[in-house]
């Protein structure tokens, strides 16, 4: 198989990010101290919080690409591909957030699931991502699909501030965010540093996924287009 220079670059970049992520998660699993109240089980934080951040990041990307598809009368097809890639990776990270949250909730809260505002709005985000992918798959490629999906993309992004604020707007079982933009962060140094490292690397891997998946989708579109032309004898 012939790899282009660009393919090799993408491969090594991704391999580097994932190796660093494995390194940070390994140290999070053994080297970082346990937590005073929760003990060892709190370590799932290092997957749960970065996953949630990536789910939000994908929604922001989806929002950006959707706006780009909406403002121009005949938008570039690329924005549609990038939007779909963001939605796919967003669904993955939302499901990962729900799964790790559930695994964390059982030993700490004493329940796998409860319908509080934070959990419910996050579940809605997963449903919205799924609905977006269904909608996108059910329409023929073209400007109409790109515009319709872009409207849905904007709506999906509206859920993100609601999820983020849910723990302060309503009474919930889930605690408020530890990483806040104002005031002191109630988290000890080693825990905070490891969390920030895993967060940054998880975001990097998320961006890599979106990048590679959109390249993949572009190829698929190209093949579909060519096979259609051959079939029509054009």
């Amino acid at each position: 198989m012939n790899l282009t220079k660009k393919d090799k670059k993408a491969f090594f970049l991704g391999a580097g990010v994932f190796a660093a992520l494995v390194l940070v998660w390994t140290s999070a699993a053994w080297l970082v101290p346990a937590e005073a109240f929760q003990g060892e089980v709190y370590r799932i934080l290092y997957i749960h919080v970065p996953s949630a951040s990536c789910a939000f990041l994908c929604a922001s990307l989806l929002f950006g690409f959707s706006i780009a598809s909406l403002v121009k009368k005949s938008p570039q097809a690329q924005f549609g591909l990038w939007a779909r890639a963001s939605a796919e990776i967003g669904l993955f990270f939302t499901v990962l957030t729900l799964a790790t949250g559930s695994l964390w909730g059982k030993p700490t809260w004493g329940t796998w699931w409860t319908w509080d505002a934070r959990l419910t709005t996050t579940f809605v985000l997963a449903l919205l991502y799924g609905a977006y992918l269904l909608l996108e798959s059910s329409m023929p490629a073209g400007i109409l699909r790109q515009k319709v999906c872009a409207v849905m993309g904007v709506l999906i992004f509206a859920d993100v501030p609601i999820i983020y604020k849910s723990v302060t707007w309503w009474r919930t079982l889930h605690q408020p965010p530890t990483l806040n933009f104002a005031g002191s962060v109630p988290m000890d140094g080693p825990i905070l540093r490891t969390l920030i490292f895993s967060l940054v690397l998880c975001v990097a891997s998320c961006l890599w996924f979106v990048w590679q998946r959109s390249a993949n989708l572009r190829l698929r579109l190209l093949f579909e287009d060519q096979s259609f032309r051959q079939w029509r004898g054009v």
């Binding site: 937590e35 005073a36 109240f37 809260w109 309503w170 009474r171 605690q175 530890t178």
Partner: protein, 149 residues
């Protein structure tokens, strides 16, 4: 055909309005996730007919755990004088202890003094500390704030 500008304005009003409306709908007391002990006691007569959740703190020296019978009794307090005697059958979560935040699901007696819990959940705060801080959460104000006490 409407102009693009008007369409954008209408779309933003619809989306913004929906978000605002949703946040107000949920502000409604009927859909509150849990009541504070004071609220639950005050409205006990009407709430006793429903399945509700009450959130508060586990009072120090109030926990009675009968292991063979899997029977748990403790006092749910708002740290301001309102106390509810809670009965629960089943093993409590590992993090259930005195001075921990807890949310109970079940039914309150019409007099408001006792509660029969079918589900017991521990609520912790957003604080993460190293083990030398001991087995409790140091900053109680974070927990009481998020329990609306």
């Amino acid at each position: 055909m409407l102009s693009r500008k008007i369409k954008w304005v209408v779309a933003s009003i619809i989306i913004g309005g929906t978000i605002l409306a949703l946040s107000f709908v949920n502000m409604d007391q009927n859909s509150v996730y849990f009541y504070t002990p004071a609220e639950a006691v005050e409205k006990a007569a009407t709430l006793s007919k429903e399945n509700i959740r009450v959130g508060g703190m586990v009072k120090v020296d109030s926990v009675q755990w009968d292991r063979p019978k899997l029977s748990l009794a403790f006092i749910l307090s708002d740290l301001k004088g309102t106390e509810i005697h809670v009965q629960h059958r089943g093993t409590p979560p590992d993090l259930f202890k005195e001075n921990a935040g807890v949310i109970v699901e079940g039914s309150i007696a019409a007099e408001g003094n006792s509660f029969l819990a079918t589900k017991l959940m521990v609520k912790h705060s957003e604080e993460y500390r190293q083990p030398e801080h001991g087995g409790t959460q140091a900053d109680k104000s974070l927990l009481t704030k998020s329990l609306a006490l």
